[in-house]
């Protein structure tokens, strides 16, 4: 039930009642995570309006890929909230349950970005990281807005 985004871009939204599901698909879990990060940006604003002017490094660690994805999205939510940033691009590396990432973006410009809604947090609802039949990886969860 794709709602927006394109398969080409590797991310999409899916519907969940009052909230929004974010999904990334890529050749590796790391790529799926990065693309889900774009889906997260798209919850708030049109990603193409965000310029990669500054960067931030992020790291998290979790007992499995599901929780690592939860932590990754929550790390982005936290960085956006505390730094007042929106992100345009991500580079993610995952090694043995540890995630290292760089996120590029810029401070929120309300006139230009028209940010619709802030994300409160990533939920366990439909949280899933798995390999698809074609070998690609999918990472998804619903975010509370």
């Amino acid at each position: 039930m794709s709602d927006s985004g394109t398969v080409d871009a590797g991310w999409e939204h899916f519907q969940h009642g009052a909230d929004i599901g974010i999904r990334g698909v890529g050749a590796t879990p790391a790529e799926a995570f990065a693309r889900a990060g774009m889906a997260l940006t798209a919850v708030i604003t049109r990603p193409e309006t965000v310029q990669p002017r500054q960067s931030l490094t992020l790291a998290c660690q979790a007992p499995d890929l599901d929780f690592l994805f939860l932590d990754w999205i929550n790390a982005l939510v936290y960085a956006m909230a505390t730094e007042g940033l929106l992100f345009a691009r991500y580079e993610v590396a995952i090694d043995n349950g540890r995630l290292q990432a760089t996120a590029w973006g810029e401070p929120v410009d309300r006139a230009r970005h028209q940010p619709a809604v802030e994300v409160k947090g990533a939920t366990l609802t439909t949280l899933e990281v798995r390999q698809l039949a074609d070998g690609r990886w999918l990472a998804q969860c619903v975010v509370d807005v």
């Binding site: 519907q15 009642g17 009052a18 929550n74 509370d144």
Partner: protein, 476 residues
């Protein structure tokens, strides 16, 4: 959802009989049409909540129930700590103590009319709203701790509002048992710029007119007359509450095994009330409640400042402040016996009936004001808790209209600019920093709030007192 999946007990009471691993039955209060429009996940989630350890009497869902996180939104469940009862971060939600307060202004619609545009402009200027807005209050660490302990009472001591406001807030404006030390540094940091901010999404500050009176006696007790102007504020505990919810949801999900809790769905992440994790969450969550109460109190102060500037003859008096994402320790009668229970209300409002000892004296005859938010184009309602609500739902009622379509569907159907023009044509002024935000919150994206409150009244949860129509809406 197919209503026939339930056993119908009366026109608005539908039961899921105890089956499988359910410890109690599930009860949904709604009419057939509302149930038909609900997501089937409500049935599943109600069944799952009914399977949690220590649950008492039944798992309840209110007429505005919809698919939530583990618990349905519009869910009510009480747990007994002495019977292995649990507390669930998902059962409270990310926006701890999100709620609504409504204030009378002493103005009539006619008195407001010439000043509406000016008022809207000043409110938008003064009330930090939407993504990227920041409050003007920066709390040092010790002040933050005092706020987390003191709630609205702290805010009043800082000069935000009046002492008499406190009597018109649940818990008299201060949730006891808060443990600021249980709130992480990250949660505190996330709140740094967010004291006295409205937030975004479905949060709003609305100037409204009393358009219908359904119960003149209770309306008088609440200070509501026909055509009177009131102000309603809907928001919660901001970044601090969101971070508490985020951190404890994760920790509870990862600790369930340690506490030998078998979860039908990991979203039901919870911990025994009598456990270090359960107690730590309760302490942090109560601090989150105080943050929400302080936040709404500061916003009230800012609103009063705006009115004092634009319409100095106005006098904003708080009717009541309700929270709808909480877990509270309360005494309820179960099977004729008084028991100390922890009542989760996720997207549900406490609705104390007449004569309840926790009510302010002014509401002893009427019951507790229950404030129901609608959409910016339709209506909101003021209800009053009914005596029957205690036996029906641990004294709880609905909290709002609930969405009928996704945000994305709404943006495909409406443009923010067009909606603002259309609503202006109907005499409703919308002010927002984001057109897309307005489109996502289009009135047509919400269910009919009137059907929800009718069902709540028919079910004996809360009765209609007054209907409010929007005049000015500051969208978060």
């Amino acid at each position: 959802m197919d209503p026939d999946r339930f056993t119908q007990l009366d026109a608005t009471t539908w039961q899921i009989p105890q089956q499988g691993n359910m410890r109690v039955p599930g009860i949904l209060y709604a009419d057939r049409q509302l149930i038909s429009d609900m997501d089937a996940k409500v049935w599943e989630q109600l069944t799952n909540v009914a399977a949690l350890p220590g649950i008492v009497q039944a798992a309840y869902a209110m007429p505005d129930a919809h698919w939530g996180y583990g618990f349905p939104i519009g869910g009510v469940a009480a747990f007994d700590p002495d019977q292995g009862g649990v507390v669930s971060a998902g059962g409270v939600g990310f926006d701890i103590s999100c709620g609504v307060r409504t204030l009378t202004t002493g103005l009539s619609v006619d008195e407001l009319q010439p000043h509406r545009e000016t008022l809207a402009d000043f409110l938008l200027y003064r009330i930090p709203a939407g993504v990227g807005s920041t409050g003007r209050i920066r709390l040092k660490d010790a002040e933050m701790t005092a706020m987390l302990e003191g709630g609205a009472d702290w805010a009043v001591r800082q000069g935000y509002g009046r002492r008499e406001d406190l009597e018109r807030i649940e818990e008299h404006g201060r949730m006891a048992g808060a443990v600021p030390e249980a709130v992480s540094e990250r949660a505190r940091k996330r709140q740094r710029d967010e004291m006295g901010t409205l937030g975004s999404g479905n949060h709003y500050l609305e100037v409204q007119a009393v358009s219908e009176i359904h119960d003149p006696e209770a309306a008088t007790a609440f200070g509501l007359q026909p055509d009177a102007v009131v102000v309603s504020i809907h928001c919660g505990s901001r970044g601090l509450g969101h971070q508490i919810g985020t951190e404890f949801l994760r920790e509870m999900a990862l600790s369930a095994q340690q506490y030998h809790i078998s979860l039908p769905d990991r979203e039901l992440a919870c911990a025994p009330l009598n456990s270090p994790l359960g107690e730590r969450y309760l302490g942090a969550m109560r601090a989150g409640i105080n943050c929400a109460l302080a936040n709404r109190q500061i916003l009230t102060h800012l609103t009063r400042e705006v009115f004092a500037h634009v319409l100095p003859e106005a006098d904003l008096q708080l009717i009541y402040d309700v929270s709808h994402n909480t877990c509270k320790e309360e005494t309820h009668t179960v099977g004729g016996e008084k028991r100390r229970l922890f009542v989760h209300r996720k997207g549900a409002t406490r609705a104390l009936g007449p004569g309840h000892p926790d009510l302010p004296e002014a509401f002893l005859d009427s019951g507790q004001p229950v404030l129901i938010g609608g959409s910016m184009g339709t209506a909101s309602y003021v209800l009053a808790g009914m005596a029957t609500s205690e036996g029906k739902s641990f004294a709880s009622a609905c909290h709002g209209a609930g969405r009928a379509m996704s945000r994305h569907q709404a943006t495909k159907r409406w443009r923010g600019e067009d909606l603002i023009d259309e609503l202006a044509g109907r005499g409703i002024i919308i002010r927002s920093h984001s057109y897309r935000g307005v489109a996502e919150e289009a009135p047509g994206a919400y269910k009919d709030v009137s059907a929800v409150v009718e069902a709540a009244e028919q079910a004996g949860l809360a009765r209609k007192v007054a209907r409010l129509r929007p005049l000015v809406c500051i969208k978060g």
